[in-house]
Symmetry: C2
Subunit: 345 residues, 2 copies
């Protein structure tokens, strides 16, 4: 199979992106296509201070770059010669089986929707992030982690199905448990939309489509690892990720203070602080290998803007089962069942 | 002035509620009215093992009790002889200036709305919780912390005004800073409702009604104490509180594990853990003295269901400036200005 990488997206592009790709090329059985300015990509390949099989890497020339600050929709429409647009077009045309980019997040979403198109019936593609559980070292899946501020109840059912397929095919969790984030565990809790989503998910559980549905879960239990797939809208998903980061920071500041006051001995303070900074770093996606965009007709992975060569390697490694196990195809096949439940048949 | 206390509400009622009230009576210049079953309240007063001036306490007999599990609206309508209903009626009739209850939260909200009524123009009363900042020991105000899952943009403007008045009058913060929780700091972020709320709050800032409006804030900065008044709907408020609690628990588990593994020396582990458990306890409201219900025609404070005598004392102490500084009256006076902004005049 073939992996297409946006060589020009991200804070450290093209050097770190190209270096990460080159380091990975020797370790995997797939070919890699680097999309970007040919001269700059070649220069980055030449600069590599390690041995690798250059024949496994090819370049698809794209003279334009979509910058971080640009309006996503406009940029995707106007910059038809950009690495992002040309990479997604190559994926669409079957010249590759997976696309990764550390570029403008909004443009990756917009490009996914406009160039690849939505999987039939999936109204709202979502970003699916890995949520690390501090105590156990396990990983939950948070979907949607920030793409959609406003949704219908049916979209949350779609997220639950997509998240379960991903957790199963990519993380290898046999029967993933699924929780709907709400302000209480009782069925009647929350907004009209959340109540309706609870009803749809309950039906999907009965029909065997989301067999692992646990019901509503409280945010309190998310960092404790209550379920494998955490379902919520993008606003709630953003708040869960950002509160995790903020609390890790706040407690890290406290540890530093207590250490300075001589209350916590140095050794303990340093070790604990490192663990919290690891957690914080995990939320830069780097360690956890990129976030797939689910619901579009193609395997797309959004890497963090500040990803380095190591991050690129991890992202590719994590994305390989996403590509090989035909997650996008399986998501598409689930729509018939989702529609039945939504139409209440 | 007179403080009315629901002697029958809460897990430790009437004993701990009455004890806390009796211990407070000697320390304050106000009278206390205990609402509840006369015989049981008297027995609890008799049981006190300390000296206090019983003449400062009176009893308002109420034979019925609204239990925790009861449907709030039904209970308030049917149990007209309950301590909650009789207490709120006494407040409405001017027999007291403040009402505190550790009873059924939903029934306190419903009773506030049905018995006292909403302050003219305030569509949605909100629960205003204290949010403790771990690093500095300061306190932010979180409004709404869980009462309303669905809101209009105008309601968030009302919360910003009510929260600012409370922070100023009760916490003594001269010009409270106000942040709108959103999934990014840029003005165009979030749902249509959040975008509209941002517009209303910007206008309210220009007009001097919410001079401390900082704009959108990310959840990441909430635990770091970015603003005095955190404005959000009840679902987001609940998630912020519950994520704080969940992260404190999760990190506390990690500390215990690292201590057991011999990585953190005992002294440091114990001290840090205590700090995290303090934070967790703070979210039981007890330490932070109850949460006012803002937007109803009367000073109402919801104490935590598991509050003990010490918690009752702290809740009364915190609620006294809420009563003395006529917060409810000042909130009422702000409606003319709020309406102007909402009508875009």
């Amino acid at each position: 199979m073939r992996i297409i990488i946006d060589a020009m997206g991200g804070d450290h592009a093209p050097d770190d992106i190209v270096r990460g790709a080159a380091e990975t090329a020797d370790l995997i059985d797939h070919e890699i296509v680097l999309v970007g300015d040919e001269a700059r990509v070649n220069a980055a390949l030449d600069a590599a201070d390690f041995e690798y099989d250059r024949s496994k890497l090819s370049i698809l020339h794209a003279p334009e770059v979509i910058e971080t600050g640009e309006s996503p929709v406009k940029a995707v429409r106007r910059k038809t010669e950009s690495s992002l647009v040309k990479g997604l077009e190559a994926l669409k045309n079957g010249e590759g089986d997976l696309f990764l980019s550390a570029g403008n997040s909004g443009a990756i979403m917009a490009g996914g929707i406009f160039i690849l198109g939505r999987i039939e019936g999936f109204e709202r593609p979502a970003i699916c992030s890995a949520y690390p559980i501090l105590e156990t070292g396990a990983t939950s899946i948070l979907i949607d982690s920030g793409a959609n501020a406003e949704l219908r109840a049916g979209n949350l059912l779609e997220f639950a199905v997509m998240g379960s397929i991903y957790a199963n095919s990519v993380l290898g969790i046999e029967s993933p448990s699924v929780g709907l984030v709400n302000m209480g565990t009782e069925p009647g809790k929350g907004s009209a939309m959340l109540k309706e989503a609870y009803g749809l998910l309950t039906k999907a559980k009965e029909e065997g489509l989301v067999p692992g549905f646990l019901g509503n879960v409280e945010a309190r239990d998310v960092p404790l690892g209550i379920c494998d797939v955490i379902v919520c809208d993008g606003l709630v998903g953003n708040i869960i990720l950002k509160m995790t980061e903020g609390m890790a920071l706040s407690i890290s500041h406290l540890i530093r203070k207590k250490f300075t006051e001589g209350i916590i001995p140095k050794m303990g303070a340093v070790l604990l602080n490192n663990k919290l900074m690891e957690l914080k770093k995990a939320f830069d996606y780097q360690e956890y290998g990129g976030a797939p965009v689910l619901g579009v007709k193609g395997a797309v992975v959004k890497m963090h803007g500040s990803t380095d060569a190591k991050g690129v390697m991890k992202s590719i490694a994590r994305a390989i089962p996403f590509m090989e196990n035909r997650v996008v195809e399986n998501i598409g096949k689930s729509m018939a069942e989702i529609s039945k439940i939504e139409r209440n048949e």
